[in-house]
Amino acid sequence: MKGQGNIIIAILFFSILILSVIPLTVHIYYALLNNQQLYENPTTRRVSIAMKEMSRDIRAFLNTSSSELYLTNIGGTDIEIEKAILHISCENTNHYIDTHIQTTIKSGQTVLISIPIPSLCQNQRTVALHLITVEGSVISSTVLTPEDLQKIQSQLFNTTIPIGISSAIQLIPMKLAPNDEIWNISIFRKSFNISTLDNRDNPTRISQFTDLGKGMSGGTTTKHIWSLQNVYTNTEIRINNLNIRNLWIGYDPRNTSRYNILITADSITSNVLSIGGRGVTTNTYTRIKIYGFTPSTSQEILRLREKSITRPSQDIADYTFNNSALVLSGRADRIEIYVRSTGSESSYNPYIMLMNTDKSSGSAGILFTSIDRTGGSYNTRNEDVDSLLDYSTQALVLVYRDYVVSNYDSSAVVIAVNYRFHDNEGSDATGISVDRPIMLVGLVDENGAIYSYRSYTFRELTRYEDTSPPTAQAQSSLVFIPLPPRETGEKKFYVFIAIQDPYHYNGNLDDLDFTLYIESLSILPIS
């Protein structure tokens, strides 16, 4: 039995040894075997920016005037957009704009998105759109603008028979978005370059308007201007029997359930005007500009001469030369109080209001008025007060940059302008010693040289208005401008409109002020 004991011990020993060693050996073997495939190389991807493919899935068109982006999904699958970045190019810099667009565009669908595009430079161009999908991929697309389409058309014309363009391009009314700051004339930069004339009577060139804080002046021996005294925003306003001189009213183009109102008064005595519950007074001539006014009652907007006004009149002179009590109550987006004070020059802001009289949403006509008080005649001082005589130190010129008039596209161009005019010169043409242009419409070339224009002088404009009773008839004018022949090489032009008050005073002559409302301005290119 001794031998059996040794055998058992030997078996026990080898069992323990084998149980310890074999699994370990097997494990090490497989671990080493697998180790060959344990780590994968880093993921690598190589792309070239120059060769980066522009997507064929999205087609983007930007209406630069209305800031509306049209996106068409021409791919076969729906695209869920997490973010959209607009690439805007200025002269020397690029900017990337977060548009906060989050939407899904179904295959084949076109969506229209209103996007606020900040004004970054004078000649900014929207060049590309980068759509970031929820999956994290980037779809880039060139953004076509009306100007691009025109260029494409122009290139086509070089190789094919010219095609007549039958549609009109509308410059005014201006397209506005709900949040546009329409109280500042820099809003014109949405579609126009703001410029001025080299000569107010016989202009030959258009140049940059260097300081928008200037342009208008007034008074006689002592210069007087409209100075902004106070601004109130999103507030309640009550006017209780304020004796006003003039009132102009139109729909707020940003929201046509509201109104834009311009009021002139000799002063604001106590207890007649309260803004935000606080009384407001002035002791001199005053202009009140009210934007986005919502009346407290739906029955009327305001009461003038104890008569309810329930809608803006298309005749913008209807509420001129009142000298009567105004009653008004409601809320306003913004109220500006201007007072007449000594000073050499002011901006055009006190004189201009964007509005419309036909309740078309998002479309703004341009109202300019230098009338502050009352009329006059050839032998009396207009406004009755020297300090209220206004005049332009520089014409305000708006050059439409979104449409290029090319002699390769067109043989001629027709510019159509609809307007209303009213002045405070009771003697009409005999109240002036010299006839001067008040409005000019024409073409300017790429270098700022005026190619051709039509001027609207005081004598012409005053024929179709009545100073008192105040009447501003609707006027329309077509300006036909032939373009240089194609054989002379390509010439490019831009349409401009200029407005100015060229009359200061000359004794009791040439002392007129006026109201001009530009309802529309359109280009009709002719092939």
Binding site: L12, T44, T93
Partner: protein, 216 residues
């Protein structure tokens, strides 16, 4: 003097003792190998997950400002940050050349025009020798210098690894992070930019992805 029975008993104890010693030694070795193997598996998993989890896409290259705009997105929807090193052909960019867009502080819609608010610089998490950065390569882990030499990437005394914060930390997203992070990389004059995607495991940086962008 041992009698025969005593001698056999002693032999038996010696056998058993030897077997126990060998067994315990094997067991401890086995345990240590297993622990090492597990940590290797953890590293392997982490590297594999991160290499497929982080998605990089180029948005645009602004050649006027020499700025590369990239999109970073985590497929797993986690709030973890992104770690990158950028090779510009001659050196690795410092972290103040890399910034990211925080839409929450953007007041004017223009991306990254207000440094410190809507544009935040990345922060440095490692700045030092390439030899202390590792890469999984051909089945094993090698140091980044050896890898870069083999691949023809830039060799430099110092590599900077930068943290680009996940934008979901700044947005009010609840649940999984869906937002993409937009990064701006200010490049010197170069024809190439290599973006190395880095993950940190046990305090050690590992490169899991290379995104090479040929410019111009």
């Amino acid at each position: 003097m041992f009698v025969k029975g005593q001698s056999e008993l002693l032999t038996t104890f010696m056998y058993i003792g030897l077997a126990v010693v060998v067994g315990v030694a094997m067991l401890s070795y086995f345990s240590s190998v297993l622990a090492g193997y597990r940590s290797q598996l953890d590293l392997l998993n982490n590297l594999q997950i991160e290499s497929v989890n982080i998605f990089v896409s180029e948005i645009s290259y602004d050649d006027r400002a020499s700025t590369l705009w990239l999109l970073f997105k985590r497929i797993d929807g986690s709030l973890s940050d992104f770690f990158v090193a950028v090779d510009v052909g001659t050196s690795y960019l410092p972290c103040n050349s890399i910034s990211f867009y925080n839409p929450r502080e953007d007041s004017d819609g223009v991306i990254c025009n207000d440094v410190g608010r809507d544009c935040i610089y990345s922060s440095s998490i490692y700045s030092g020798s390439m030899e202390r950065v590792y890469v999984p390569w051909e089945g094993s882990i090698v140091d980044f210098r050896s890898y870069a030499r083999s691949m023809g990437f830039t060799l430099s005394d110092t590599i900077h690894i930068c943290r680009i914060e996940n934008v979901c930390r700044y947005t009010s997203t609840q649940g999984l992070c869906r937002d993409s992070t937009i990064a701006r990389i200010q490049l010197p004059e170069t024809s190439i930019a290599r973006i190395f995607i880095v993950t940190i495991h046990g305090g050690t940086p590992y490169i899991v992805g290379v995104h090479e962008v040929a410019l111009g």
